[in-house]
Amino acid sequence: MQSQHLRDGRILLAPLTIFLLAMLGLPLVVDLIYSVSRVEFRTILSPEFVGLANYASALSSENYWQAAWFSLRFGLVCAVAQLLLGLFLAIFLAPLIDRRPWLLAFLMLPMMVAPALVGLMYRLILHEFVGVVPWFMFTYFGDSPSFLGPDNAFRTLVVVEVLQWTPFALLILYSAYAAIPKDVREAASIDGAGPWQRLWRIDLPLMTPVLGATFFIRFIDSFRVFDNVYTLTGAGAGGATTTMSIWVYEAFFKSGDIGRAVAASMLLLVAAWAVLAIVHRLSERRA
């Protein structure tokens, strides 16, 4: 009977396994081969083995570390901002959303828009001569800052990313907040706990795993950002807004250095796996 269950389970899992092997396993194998090969577009079908040279080349590139530093800063700042803003909105708007759940769908709209379109939209909105924001700045203050210039580009990109993806944090955190049993809060109230005490001693501790997961998801997403940064500022003046994804894209398509680009992607994969393993270990220890 048990072996029958085991066999059924294997049969049911087989299509998914085959799909994953074909869609993820095969490209991964090809990537592994390319990452240890000298390969360009003209030699794409005949890669030449070069060992770890591509990895060494990527790791010794100043631009690679500049892009890694930008992505790390961008990922951390955006994830923290989205988490705090999402948490505030989830708790502040909870009574309203409880009564009118359709509002949640409305609040999700920003993340339904393609990130590349968001980038193009802000290129218009922030343009000194046709954008609505500079128009108000000139009208009321007589001047407008350079939103996409070297001094402000990072801040502008963070704001755009946070405005688009905070709804994601809001959705998850609101669900976690709404899932906390009401009788726990009522009991605390009867024991004399005020709103702040309930937040610090009941809500946040119970939401901690979800807060961690949300932070992790948003960090990974912001770390590997491409579309809206690419359409807004590209690689930036002197490469100042080059993210890891843009670095890989430019190494692959613009320089045609496929082996180096794929090696950098593999390094990113390993880094992401390491972070995932640490988070997993921490959550297991907590459990």
Partner: protein
């Protein structure tokens, strides 16, 4: 009964597929006048009685985002989804391994001229038919410049600013006679931050985004001072007084506030929007912007008040970067014979006149252009400027050309943004180019 219907349907499907494969498929430049023009030319070709059904042309368009990258991937993979594909001067070296050289009829020289045909050549071989030519104009506001040339108070202020900012005694000149000093002085005069009485906010708008196409626009400054990518022996020559002068010009204008603060994120569209707002006096820009900017319906603030001349002169003369777009033969084409027939026809006066009438921008010899010159007067100017001032940097059609433009864009924008010194930017560029262009 059901199986016979299925068999019939499959047979029909196979025949349709075979027919589709027999057509000449052409991957064109989407979403602009080039698309409209190519559609008109293809319709004319398909309507001709001597074009067999299996040689009719079918056009394929997707979108411009990442076009060249997608094309490169498709060509490298040996894709035969299109027989003819778009080709650009600066990308020929990169795509040549996946394409086949073509032999055009001798009459093609009479249609285009040697210089324009050369924009589609790589290592001495012809890779395509040049359908569109791009170069740069110096755009200026005729109303502002007319007043500058006639108003004594403005001229006195202009001379004062030129002396103070450039240390030179300059007087306003007509734009066709400008040197880069005259352009700089004019731009500063029309800048509110320098001259609070200026009727516009900025004297010019520079495209300084880290983008390869912006390097092409800027190159006219360096070339007019005698700059080039490399000398006859293949030595990289960008660390030169000519390059320094051109780079410093942009930085001085940007730092003086003569160009919008966000210029480091500007490309074609942003610069046009700035100039079209009526708040900018001059602009070095691609010829493709001329028609819309001078159309009062499309650009009410400046339409009808826009003049165009060749870029200003430097010590070595007056120059404009030129490059061509064209169509070439995919090595993996399914219908090579049909594709070559269409290419040969495309190099005839009949085809190019239809293409020009449809909105394209081919550079044609005066005789070929004559029948459509009244309809497209801008093409006369295009042909003149290309012939008189056009240049292609040495090495700018090689396999490493695109990467070289990218490298320069990154380094030079870093200098303009104040992130690195001019010496650092030029040294890094020279070192990178030595690697890229030796391949």
């Amino acid at each position: 009964m059901r199986s016979s219907r299925l068999f019939a349907a499959l047979t029909a499907l196979l025949l349709t597929s075979a027919a589709a494969q027999a057509e000449v498929t052409v991957l064109g430049w989407p979403g602009g006048p080039e698309e409209t023009a190519l559609r008109d030319a293809a319709n004319l070709y398909n309507s001709k009685a001597d074009v067999a059904d299996e040689d009719k042309v079918e056009l394929i368009f997707f979108n411009r985002d990442g076009f060249w990258d997608k094309l490169q991937t498709d060509l490298a993979a040996g894709g035969g989804e299109f027989d003819l594909n778009l080709l650009a001067t600066y990308a020929i070296g990169r795509y040549a391994p996946f394409m086949e050289p073509v032999e055009l009829p001798d009459s093609a020289v009479e249609v285009f001229g040697e210089k324009v045909l050369a924009t589609m050549q790589f290592e001495g071989q012809q890779y395509g038919v040049p359908t569109d030519l791009s170069l740069h104009f110096m755009y200026y506001r005729t109303d502002l410049i007319d007043q500058l040339l006639s108003d004594a108070d403005w001229q006195a202020r202009y001379a004062e600013i030129a002396q103070k900012k450039l240390g030179k005694a300059l007087k306003p000149k007509p734009p066709a006679e400008w040197t880069w000093d005259d352009y700089q002085a004019t731009a500063l005069f029309f800048t509110k931050a320098v001259n609070p009485d200026s009727p516009v906010r900025y004297g010019t708008v520079l495209q300084m985004k880290n983008l390869l196409f912006n390097m092409m626009v800027w190159h006219s400054t360096a070339r007019s001072q005698g700059g080039d990518w490399m000398d006859a022996e293949g030595n990289i020559t960008v660390d030169s007084p000519a390059y320094r002068k051109g780079l410093e010009l942009y930085k001085e204008l940007y730092d003086a506030g003569a160009s919008p603060k966000d210029s480091l994120s500007y490309e074609f569209a942003e610069a046009n929007a700035a100039f079209g707002s009526g708040q900018v006096a001059t602009m070095l820009q691609w010829n493709a912007a001329a028609a819309d900017l001078n159309d009062p319906e499309k650009t009410p603030a400046v339409g009808g008040k826009v003049g165009t001349v060749p870029p200003p002169a430097g010590e070595a003369g007056r120059f404009t970067h030129i490059h061509g777009l064209g169509l070439g033969l995919n090595k993996s084409a399914q219908n090579k014979a049909g594709a070559l027939k269409f290419l040969e026809w495309l190099a005839t006066p009949e085809a190019m006149q239809a293409y020009a009438a449809g909105g394209g921008t081919p550079a044609l010899s005066p005789d070929v252009l004559a029948p459509v010159a009244a309809q497209r007067p801008d093409l006369t100017q295009l042909g003149d400027y290309a012939g008189q001032y056009g240049f292609v940097m040495t090495g700018a059609t090689s396999a490493g050309a695109l990467s070289t433009y990218e490298l320069q864009a990154e380094q030079f924008t870093g200098y303009w943004a104040g992130q690195k010194s001019l010496d650092e930017a030029l040294a890094a560029t020279a070192q990178g180019m030595a690697d890229l262009l030796k391949k």
